[in-house]
């Protein structure tokens, strides 16, 4: 009898434990997983709510309408005025394909709903929601169009921004796609080896090549470890491995300034080794490598090696922007901006204002410093060196008459294909209004030859047309 009762109680306890675990799991699910689940694009409820609301428009900094919703019978349809041009910035919003880029990350703003369902209910009680908010971007449509045309037919990215406020004037990534014909093209888009859905400006990671030398130079200046007289023979041997200049010839006796102008690899390799990986990485991180970059869209983290066994060859490679160093084009633009802006890197911004359906500005961005990368004097020194690069060195193709342009070219060795062509720069040097980074993926040519002219054209166009 006793045993029986004990066993009965055991079974009862077992069943009770099962039920309790149900309650626990349910609560856990609601607290931790529910929000993510709710926002899946397969959730028809998201769309039901949306269909009743007029989704907000997206306009450029001058008020030009880039995307809007129009009534199509009973429901709203999204119209993208410029197709490919904003595919990586605005993205798309479709029932069957989900949402991407700004349409995704600013979904609640565009619909004027909040994250919390409860709050929405209350709001709806007070005043039924019918229209979303408009996003005013920092983008300048004319420059965006111009920049894309400059790069037509190539693969790569361009980021053009205001170094003192952080506003992005143009962001181009090619290849791109047309969000208006997403449905028809979807098969091709997804199969395309060149990944048109990828926004290379913020998600592409490349070796920066010689453009990284500006960071090495800053590190050398700050730590007082720059060589005044270095004999460049065109090659340097590091730990038994030869490290060559681009053409292998020698540059003769150079100091830091000259080494930058002519982009002398052996100089910077030696300098990097002298600095050591710790000092180098410290400077690199001040320039946002290895760090999360706050932005209106998710940005991939750039990488600079600093942990583990780092041999001399790795350090040498890193100092000239090869090896394990990987950066996003946005990061490079921010580096240029930092040097342009007296050493302070501003937070990059894409959304300038949020305007309610009544026309009121309910939110506008505030310029914010996200890193004091270097001091004003060092920045100034680098700036002058970069002006020399454009005037006398590898960056000659970036010259603009009557304007002092600062820049740095880069030709990054690509282990899996042709070299990438880079250019970073800003103008006018003494009161910079535009900073830019251009990368031509697998261009097979030097940064000076191919990337610099593109950057020049865009900078000139920006200086001529943007005045706000």
């Amino acid at each position: 009898m006793e045993k029986e009762i004990k066993r009965i109680i055991t079974v009862l306890a077992g069943i009770c434990i099962l039920f309790v675990s149900l309650v626990v799991y349910l609560t856990y699910f609601q607290i931790f997983k529910a929000d993510k689940v709710k926002n899946s694009s397969y959730n028809k409820r998201l769309w039901i709510n949306e269909e009743k609301i007029l989704r907000g428009s997206i306009i450029d900094r001058n008020g030009k309408i880039l995307a809007y919703s129009e009534l199509n019978g009973e429901t709203y349809a999204r119209v993208y005025n410029y197709g490919n041009l904003y595919s990586h910035i605005i993205g798309y919003s479709y029932r069957d394909y989900g949402k991407s880029n700004l349409e995704l990350y600013y979904n609640n703003v565009l619909l004027n709903t909040s994250e919390s369902a409860a709050l929405n209910e209350l709001k709806n009680l007070v005043e039924p929601n019918s229209e979303g908010n408009t996003l005013k971007l920092t983008i300048d449509h004319h420059l965006q169009e111009y920049s894309r045309n400059q790069m037509k037919g190539k693969k790569g990215a361009i980021v053009a921004m205001n170094p003192s406020t952080g506003e992005i004037y143009a962001m181009v990534s090619l290849p791109d796609f047309n969000p208006s014909t997403l449905r028809e093209d979807w098969g091709n888009i997804v199969e395309d080896e060149n990944s048109p859905l990828l926004n290379r400006a913020i998600s592409g990671l490349y070796q920066p090549g010689s453009t990284f030398k500006v960071v090495t130079a800053i590190s050398a200046l700050e730590n007082n470890m720059y060589m005044e007289d270095y004999e460049c023979t065109g090659t340097a041997v590091v730990d038994g491995y030869p490290l060559k200049d681009y053409d292998g010839k020698g540059h003769g006796t150079v100091n830091l300034n000259e080494a930058l102008i002519y982009s002398c690899n052996p100089y910077f390799a030696e300098t990097g080794i002298k600095l050591g990986i710790d000092r180098l990485s410290e400077t690199a991180e001040k320039f946002l490598l290895n760090r999360e970059i706050p932005f209106d869209l998710p940005v991939k983290k750039s990488l600079f090696p600093k942990k583990g066994n780092i041999g001399k060859t790795d350090v040498a490679a890193a100092s000239i922007g090869q090896g394990k160093v990987l950066v996003t084009p946005l990061n490079m633009a921010l580096i240029a901006s930092g040097i342009a802006n007296k050493g302070d890197i501003m937070k990059p911004v894409l959304v300038k204002e949020v305007i309610s359906k009544d026309g009121k500005v309910i939110d506008s961005f505030k310029a914010e410093v996200i890193s004091r990368a270097t001091d004003i004097f060092t920045a100034n020194e680098l700036k002058n060196m970069m002006v020399d690069v454009v005037n006398k060195g590898t960056g000659k193709n970036a010259r603009i008459s009557n304007i002092r342009v600062a820049g740095k070219t880069g030709t990054a060795e690509n282990p899996s294909g042709n070299d990438h062509a880079w250019f970073i720069g800003f103008a006018p040097a003494d009161d910079p209004k535009i900073a830019i980074a251009v990368i031509l993926e697998e261009e097979g040519s030097t940064g000076g030859q191919k990337a610099a002219p593109i950057a020049r054209n865009i900078m000139l166009e920006a200086l001529n047309t943007i005045n706000n």
Binding site: E4, I5, R7, I8, I9, T10, V11, L12, I15, C16, L18, F19, S21, L22, V23, Y25, L26, T27, F29, Q30, K33, A34, D35, V37, K38, S40, Y42, N43, K44, R45, I48, A117, A118
Partner: protein, 409 residues
């Protein structure tokens, strides 16, 4: 008699209040489509439930709580079903009323007639007969052969077999001493249970396989004298479970969908993901009756009614339902412990375990805590067979809650 009506007044009245408000809300929801008969039926149901609870507390000497709990569960269920589908709600009212009638009928019949524990053979034969009938006459529904249609009425034999199995197991262990003497007598039950599981497997009714196995295992654990047999049984069942996973693709699919339903969201994972959407939409308090979209879940009235409840009435109500089942099971166990008549003790245990395991399996399945199986929530899900057999089982449990004579022979 020590039963005082006054103790049970509070929950009875709360239930009445709940039903009235909910019904009122539903009438507002359907204000355009309302007709006289629905109003009458709705009000009648509330009336019937109130009166039954009242009558029960007066005339019955045993437990009152189980009927109270069950009517609350049924009320929550029917409000949800009515909100989702007007006609199903209507039919469900009929089922519940019939169920209550059957409950009382079962109570009186089982109480008056003696000798239930002697019918081991009949329970066996009846079950096997029903199994064969299902296999021969049955219609396939969603991959499992569950239903028999006779002359326009369709029902699920498995629901009846569940009760027969409990009676069978109870009668076996009550007369164990006699069975022991026969050759192979000790193994009769286990053999029959494997036979049943085999039939269910043929029917592809994996949910029922789980229920039967758990039920049998639990009762065997408590009552079988041959402890090694119990252990052997556990091992064999686990092993066959694994084997089943390896051999049968339809078992594997269930597991894969459980682990990552999002990958199969367009195909086999559609139902469970919709269920998860519904649950996460509701939050703790729900969206409010009529303000959510439970109809996005396919077949929502049957297995997924719990998800609909979580969406519109909140996780808290879902937890409330789980708690009600927990109390029901606890009550059943208490009834069993207090019952001196061995047959009815085992029967009470079996029915409680049945309610507990069945509801756990389906709750766990729709929230994706365990793989999904197609079985119903007792008293809550839409469906005649499930509702009627659950009330019959409850009736038997009610009998078991009273003091019965021990037959000495």
């Amino acid at each position: 008699m020590l039963n005082r009506g006054v103790n049970y007044k509070i929950p009875r009245n709360l239930l009445f209040l709940f039903e009235s408000i909910a019904l009122f809300l539903m009438f507002m929801y359907y204000r355009n489509a309302l007709d006289r008969s629905t109003i009458i039926y709705g009000l009648s149901l509330i009336f019937i439930i109130y009166i039954s609870n009242l009558i029960l507390s007066k005339i019955v000497s045993g437990d009152n709580y189980i009927f109270l709990i069950v009517t609350m569960l049924a009320s929550i269920g029917i409000i949800m079903i009515y909100r989702i589908n007007y006609e199903q709600g209507f039919k469900q009212i009929i089922w519940i009323s019939l169920g209550i009638v059957l409950f009382f009928a079962t109570y009186f019949i089982v109480k008056r007639i003696k000798g239930w524990e002697k019918l081991f053979l009949y329970y066996c034969l009846a079950s096997v007969f029903l199994f064969l009938a299902t296999l021969l006459l049955g219609r396939r529904f969603k991959g499992a052969i569950n239903w028999i249609s006779i002359g326009g009425i369709s029902f699920q034999p498995t629901e009846i077999i569940k009760i027969l199995a409990i009676l069978m197991i109870a009668s076996y262990y009550t007369n164990y001493d006699r069975f022991k003497e026969k050759k192979w007598g000790r193994y009769y039950l286990i053999g029959i249970m494997y036979l049943f599981v085999f039939f269910l497997f043929l029917q592809r009714d994996l949910g029922s396989v789980l229920i039967f196995c758990s039920l049998f295992l639990a009762l065997q654990y408590i009552y079988d004298e041959n402890r090694k047999l119990v252990l052997a049984n556990i091992v064999v069942l686990m092993f066959s479970g694994l084997l089943g996973y390896v051999i049968f693709p339809h078992v594997r699919i269930r597991f894969e969908t459980w682990i990552n339903p999002w990958e199969y969201i367009d195909t086999i994972g559609y139902q469970i993901t919709q269920s998860l959407f519904a649950i996460s939409e509701g939050g703790f308090f729900g969206t409010g009756l009529g303000l959510g979209h439970p109809d996005f879940i396919p077949e929502v009235s049957k297995d997924f009614i719990f998800s609909a409840i979580c969406e519109e009435m909140g996780i808290l109500t879902g937890i409330g339902v789980i708690m009600l089942f927990m109390i029901l099971v606890y009550r059943g166990f208490k009834i069993s412990i207090n019952q001196r008549n061995k047959f009815f003790r085992i029967v009470a245990l079996g029915i409680s375990i049945l309610f507990g395991i069945q509801s756990f399996i389906i709750f766990g399945g729709v929230i994706n805590m365990i793989p999904l199986t197609g079985i119903t929530i007792p008293f809550v899900s839409y469906g005649g067979s499930s509702m009627l057999s659950s009330f019959i089982a409850l009736g038997i449990l009610q009998v078991a809650s009273e003091e019965l004579d021990i037959e000495e022979d």
